[in-house]
Symmetry: C2
Subunit: 312 residues, 2 copies
Amino acid sequence: MATKIKVEQGDCVEVLRNYLPEYFDLIVTSPPYADRRQHTYGGVKPEHYVEWFLERSAEFHRVLKPTGSFVLNIKEKAENGERHTYVLELILALRKQGWLWTEEYIWHKRNCYPGKWPNRFRDAWERCLHFTKQRKFKMNQEAVMVPMGDWADARLKSLGKNDVVRFDSQVGSGFGKNIANWTQRTQAYPTNVIHMATECGNKNHSAAFPQALPEWFIKLFSDEGDWVLDPFVGSGTTLEVARSLGRNAVGIDLLPEYCAIAEAAVADAQYQLLEERAAYDKREKKTSDRIHRKPDTKLPPEAARKPRRVKA
Amino acid sequence: MATKIKVEQGDCVEVLRNYLPEYFDLIVTSPPYADRRQHTYGGVKPEHYVEWFLERSAEFHRVLKPTGSFVLNIKEKAENGERHTYVLELILALRKQGWLWTEEYIWHKRNCYPGKWPNRFRDAWERCLHFTKQRKFKMNQEAVMVPMGDWADARLKSLGKNDVVRFDSQVGSGFGKNIANWTQRTQAYPTNVIHMATECGNKNHSAAFPQALPEWFIKLFSDEGDWVLDPFVGSGTTLEVARSLGRNAVGIDLLPEYCAIAEAAVADAQYQLLEERAAYDKREKKTSDRIHRKPDTKLPPEAARKPRRVKA
DNA sequence: AGCTCTTATGAATCATTGA
DNA sequence: GTCAATGATTCATAAGAGC
């Protein structure tokens, strides 16, 4: 069964009215921040942001499944030496709208924007607010497990800079193979701090998201075949990732040009996957399930037997 | 001139009434969190936390200099599957009280509390809220610059899964070259994400702060000879650090036993410094300024010439 | 001195049990 | 019903033991 990806042009508050209730399993988005993208979204003023957002999040609530999640990547701007409070107010308002504020994940941007100001350092983090409709919801913790800390620490701490340089030059010396062994040994659950560089993986457009960010949440809060929504899809990163993970997805954006970019990005991703698949088939001389592949991490037996999920 | 350190027992709201207005240059504290440490602080209920705190922060505002800073280390708890909102409400309320919410620093705890739950991962971060009375305030950015070497080490230590995968797959792709770049520069300004483990001290008390956390803010927001206040001083970490950095300090705590511990800690620190000094004098055969020493990192010339400060 | 290995222990949360 | 107490889960450190 093929993965369905759809890009819709318009204001999400209107587009979503055509969708049935409880249609989506996951909403993950990075909305236009207040007063940003003025030329595109008309620059919602900070003092009107909450009101503006609530109208849309009401629709999100309607189209989200009871066991679904809503992940909101956002960060308040600083102005006149102070942080704006509209994000705090938004959290409080969303709770009044019926959302549960389940968690606040921190996206730690390792390579943040350069700059220097007299009253603050560079901003290296953003909020990823996790809202749900119920206390029990779908969460696949095993899908995002990380190699255990002992591993990286012990091994890398003992690596001097010379060792790293040597490692750099001795391609294929067996180091990679060893790493594979260690990762097989033990895995740990991650924390609520997500370390990720702001790499825009695809070159043609400036992605607000690094691909790995929506990837993490899509793996964590949805299954293959589920429906993912990004109501402010921008350049389409969420859609690309959703497709590559075997999720169906809908992306909405106000701007026709963004919709075009998003569609192109998805088409590229699709093409690339087909090429990969062809190459793989040729190599392996048999069909593969590469496109809809399982998470590449080995699950511990007990985790595989009873994954933590909630019945819808 | 000797550094003055004072420990006062009592509720800070009462103790501070005896202090003159605009007495302190910096307030840095980690208050008892709502419903935590019940056996010691009586556990302020989340729904009364803001009210309880505002009474005290009004005094903080009175005794803080106009160019001073107030750093609040706090994190809301999760209960019944949801994060509490009292910290968000506290930020909004403090602004109404006249504080400027200048910045929110993230303390990323590398070794966070273990545990597993169906709906969340381990909590690995806390807020360090930075409030001021004016848009212009004292900030010594150069005092907390990070040597590039250490920074590279920290980055290697904190390698997450994605780094590992990249490490593994892109052998020889320039990892070593990047490291070479980092080590060439000497110092960098930090960001608003502070990467620090929670040292569990070998002492008799549960050390909430790692020493390095108040140290960072004391260096950043005060000068030698300034007055630092910790109104919930607990085991006295702030006082120890203040003394070692040549700042005068006042610590207040409700509990007599904590005050005793704090006084002992400061005495220990004092004793240790004297010993160090004696040893140093013996080695160097001359007097040293080790106790009030400058940061041991070399400043770039231009930074040393014009440190960024605000006149009082 | 330096290293491996073991052990104890935290500003945690949730589900369950008992009053 | 509401609330308080207990158990289960889990991992990055420091400290100590052993070589």
